[in-house]
């Protein structure tokens, strides 16, 4: 790779001044971005932080004028100081991107060449029917006159730069043949194809596991150093901000709340909202006081669920006589015990089998081998693995589930009364007026007004929807709740609220939780014990604090060291511990 001419570090290459973007709605225009200003400097990283709906994505898209229709820029300037970038000719050349025609040639020449962008969901952000090489070469050939062969050679070189193994063959493969992390690498390769002077990354690691996230952030950092790019990183994760930012912009409801250097924001935040955001992150990074206080008063009881030697195999064999493919062991000899009134965390990366575990316990999947003994309130013991008919129905009334996605797990065509009332109705517990009053009572328990009953899920925010999901889960007065990534889709400030609600419900209803998550900080806050899963096995189990502060297994160490710390003075991620299976 030839040495790339870089801009002088610290020079302002992109200036956003008083940017306003609006979406016309039936009730007049909605201001998604309201007078936002900031600078991007060569070789530096600006993190834009905010919760969902804060307008951070629209801000990023406004820079390239690719806001989804019908959104548009109404005011403000986006100044690209081209003469200060590697592409500059020396003469002063400042372009106001906001003035350019959104479909015109001028802005198209800048997109992908001067300013490149990486998106959140690497699966859906790349075309599934074109090869990786095709999509990378396209950018190159769009902005530079090179032959197909040369473009291909450069694509391979780019794939090598982003550390994709065997780039010569990877170039001809399709996105669905790659894992999430590899797809994001390919996406980064694509964005770097024309050596952009500004890289905008919109939640580039949100859909990835922590260890993969650490690798991707690491990669962006190194490429930034070698290319001298200005990076604008959009994220909701304060940990990621602390790890990567040089300066920070905090956004809320489309407005810029506070901006400053990473030290200023983290150690001397001025605005209440910034303080609240930081506090929410700090709150999560330690055990909940409420939980500790409760455990002091009421000790954890005897076992409710005992899982012994649980195995779940998925048969992936196919072809003639099923000779191709293999049998996937999603759960490999799991032993776990959940005690009465206990919160047992299950942590692991995607593909570790944690979700399969939860689903086996509810018999969504039938386990291949092993037993899951459930002790009912009367003391009778039943094996969930072999239960059927009435027996299984009774167990399912006692073990309920809360799902990850508060949008997908509520039927959009049912109103809240129907959603929460459904388990009561199908189990013949209540109907008619009794059902309505029970639903109202449940809504009250989860902190929603009874008036919510008549409304449909789309009328609620993510946090409120998750409360509806919780109300549905506790409707039958269960004893065990399996919460699968119940807070992952929520903003940080909402996570603590929902977790506190679950703790409150535990006190009132005597619940035990199996809490499945990939997020260590949430587990630390909520769980008494934690089981670490890796490739279908429990590699470590113990008291949460013990596991978090003194991990024994190599994988746990790797997992913990990959978690970004919300403290810019402890950027530990780059010197993190790596774990190779079998090592």
């Amino acid at each position: 790779m030839e040495r790339i001419a870089t801009a002088d570090p610290g020079q302002v290459v992109l200036e956003v001044k008083g940017l306003v973007a609006e979406f016309p709605t039936r009730h007049g225009p909605f201001r998604a971005v309201d007078g936002v200003s900031f600078d991007l400097r060569a070789g530096e990283t600006l993190c834009v932080v905010g919760e969902s709906g804060s307008g951070k994505s629209v801000t990023a898209r406004s820079i390239l004028q690719i806001v989804d229709t019908p959104g548009r820029i109404v005011a403000g300037e986006v100044l690209l100081h081209r003469h200060r970038t590697a592409r500059g000719t020396g003469a002063e050349e400042t372009i106001d991107l906001a003035r350019l025609e959104p479909r015109g040639k001028a802005i198209r020449a800048i997109r992908g060449r001067d300013i490149a962008m990486i998106f959140q969901e690497p699966m859906s952000s790349l075309s599934p029917v074109h090869t990786i090489g095709n999509q990378i070469a396209e950018v190159i050939r769009l902005h530079e006159t090179v032959s197909k062969k040369e473009a291909r050679a450069r694509s391979i070189e780019l794939l090598r730069q982003v550390e994709i193994p065997r780039p010569e063959s990877a170039v001809d493969r399709y996105t669905f043949e790659f894992s999430g992390g590899m797809r994001q690498r390919a996406m980064i390769a694509m964005s770097l194809a024309c050596n952009p002077s500004v890289l905008i990354a919109d939640e580039p690691t949100t859909a990835l596991d922590v260890t993969t996230q650490a690798e991707i952030l690491d990669l962006i950092k190194r490429l930034q150093e070698s290319h001298g790019m200005a990076v604008m990183l959009i994220t909701h994760d304060m940990g990621v901000v602390a790890e990567t930012a040089d300066s920070i912009v905090v956004m809320r409801h489309g407005k810029l709340v506070e901006r400053g250097s990473v030290e200023d924001i983290f150690y001397a935040p001025q605005h209440d909202y910034t303080k609240m955001l930081l506090q929410a992150v700090l709150d999560l990074d330690r055990p909940s006081e409420r939980r500790l206080a409760r455990r002091a008063v009421q000790a954890i009881g005897g076992p409710v669920v005992e899982i012994r030697g649980l195995v779940k195999e998925f048969d992936l064999r196919h072809g003639f006589m099923r000779r191709k493919g293999h049998v996937l062991k999603a759960l490999d000899d799991i032993d776990l015990t959940l005690h009465e009134g206990e919160n047992l965390g299950v942590v692991g990366e995607s593909g570790s089998g944690k979700t399969t575990l939860g689903r086996c316990l509810l018999r969504v999947h039938d386990p291949s081998r092993g037993e899951m003994l459930y002790r009912a309130s009367g003391g009778a013991v039943a094996d969930v693995a072999t239960a059927s008919g009435n027996g299984l129905e009774r167990i399912r009334r006692d073990i309920r589930m809360i799902f990850q996605d508060p949008f997908a797990s509520l039927n959009p065509r049912m109103n809240v009364a129907q959603i929460i009332g459904e388990p009561l109705l199908v189990n013949g517990v209540a109907s008619g007026a009794a059902l309505r009053s029970r639903v109202a009572q449940l809504l009250d328990v989860v902190g929603l007004p009874a008036a919510a009953m008549e409304r449909y899920p789309h009328a609620f925010s993510g946090g409120q929807r998750q409360r509806i999901g919780i109300a549905r889960a506790i409707a039958l007065e269960p004893r065990v709740i399996v919460a699968d990534e119940a807070t992952s889709a929520l903003d940080v400030s909402l996570r603590t609220q929902v977790l506190d609600l679950l703790l409150e419900l535990q006190e009132r209803l005597g619940l035990s939780f199996i809490f499945i998550s990939h997020d260590i900080s949430v587990i630390r806050y909520f769980c008494d014990r934690v089981a670490v899963m890796f490739r279908g096995k429990v590699v470590e189990i113990g008291e949460t604090e013990e596991v978090c502060t003194n991990p024994q297994h190599g994988y746990t160490k790797a997992l913990l060291s990959a978690v970004p710390h919300p403290d810019p003075r402890h950027r530990g991620m780059l010197g993190r511990h790596r774990y190779e299976a079998g090592a």
Partner: protein
């Protein structure tokens, strides 16, 4: 990878065709009686005496007294070497009767399909990209009209207009002088002059349906994140549209080939009657009414084969278009 898929898919059609042939034969055997009972009834109606012994002799000669499986075997073993048997009614080998009509049917179906695509593809794209514009509303209205109107009615209207206002010769696929003439260049030109009327008539409703399908598919794809990615690369809107969302919206479009073929051929029967087209539909109907077993059987088998081949073509095209199908 692709080649193995195609070979596998082609091999699969063999047992499928075999099953189809059994069903086809069972279907034509299904009505009570056989050709001879229908024949006797026609004779009796016209006052002729029916000689029972002669009927029995004929029955033995045609093998109609044999069990189903034997009759099937005799038929299918003939078909495999290209002998479709003798038509009772026409007293001619079936193969003499069907090939020209099947070829014209196929020709009509293919032209209609091409016409449908040529109309539906650009209009569907326009309709999706300019959603809720005046043009979109106009197309949608016209599309629903096209969907709602029965083909034969449109045929009658077009014929009326053609004859009364243009004095055109609208029936059939050929002018009288070419009807029995052997194939030649002028005959082909004559065919082209006639074929557009049935093509437009048959194509209207399927174009309307395809426009709706294309519009809905493309609307789903237009807001996908990969479109934003492509835009962020600096692609022009037009190239972007054709390369990404349209390409993905094509999948369901291509799947329609499978069912469009048989639908065009069997759905064309009434229109073929109205326009007196020399295609397969009218002859098939006649053969079914007369219980002319071998003639009807040959038509049904060929129609089913066309369906199976249509499915094969659409599957192979899908695999070419979408790598996700290939790699399963």
């Amino acid at each position: 990878m692709l080649l193995t898929y195609i070979i596998k898919r082609i091999l699969w059609t063999i047992p499928f065709l075999f099953a189809v042939s059994i069903v086809a034969f069972a279907l034509i055997q299904a009505p009570p009686g056989d050709y001879l009972t229908t024949f006797a009834a026609t004779l009796a109606q016209s006052g002729d005496m029916v000689d029972q012994e002669r009927l029995e002799a004929l029955r033995t000669r045609y093998g109609l007294d044999q069990p189903f499986i034997v009759q099937y075997w005799k038929w299918i073993s003939g078909v495999l070497v290209g002998d479709f048997g003798i038509s009772f009614e026409w007293q001619q080998p079936v193969s003499n009767l069907i090939w020209e009509r099947m070829a014209l049917s196929l020709c009509l179906a293919v032209s209609t399909l091409l016409f449908t695509w040529a109309v539906a593809f650009p209009i569907g794209i326009y309709s999706a990209v300019r959603k809720y514009s005046i043009g979109d509303y106009l197309i949608t209205t016209l599309g629903f009209l096209g969907l709602a109107m029965p083909n034969f009615l449109l045929a009658l209207v077009l014929m009326y207009i053609g004859v009364v206002y243009f004095g055109a010769d609208v029936g059939g696929l050929f002018s009288p002088e070419y009807q029995t003439a052997p194939w030649s260049w002028p005959k082909f030109v004559d065919l082209l002059k006639h074929i557009w009327i049935p093509v437009v008539i048959l194509g209207t409703s399927s174009s309307a349906a395809l426009i709706r399908i294309m519009r809905a598919n493309l609307l789903d794809e237009l807001n996908k994140p990969y479109v934003t990615t492509a835009r962020a690369k600096g692609l022009s809107e037009f190239r972007l549209l054709l390369k990404y969302p349209v390409r993905l919206a094509l999948n369901p479009f291509v799947s329609t080939i499978g069912w469009a073929f048989p639908q065009l051929i069997s759905g064309a029967v009434i229109t073929a009657f109205v326009l007196s087209l020399p295609t397969a539909g009218p002859l098939l109907l006649q053969a079914l009414l007369a219980q002319d077993m071998y003639l009807a059987g040959a038509f049904i088998l060929l129609l089913c084969t066309l369906t199976v081949v249509g499915m094969l073509v659409s599957d192979i095209l899908l695999a070419l278009l979408d790598p996700r199908i290939r790699y399963r």
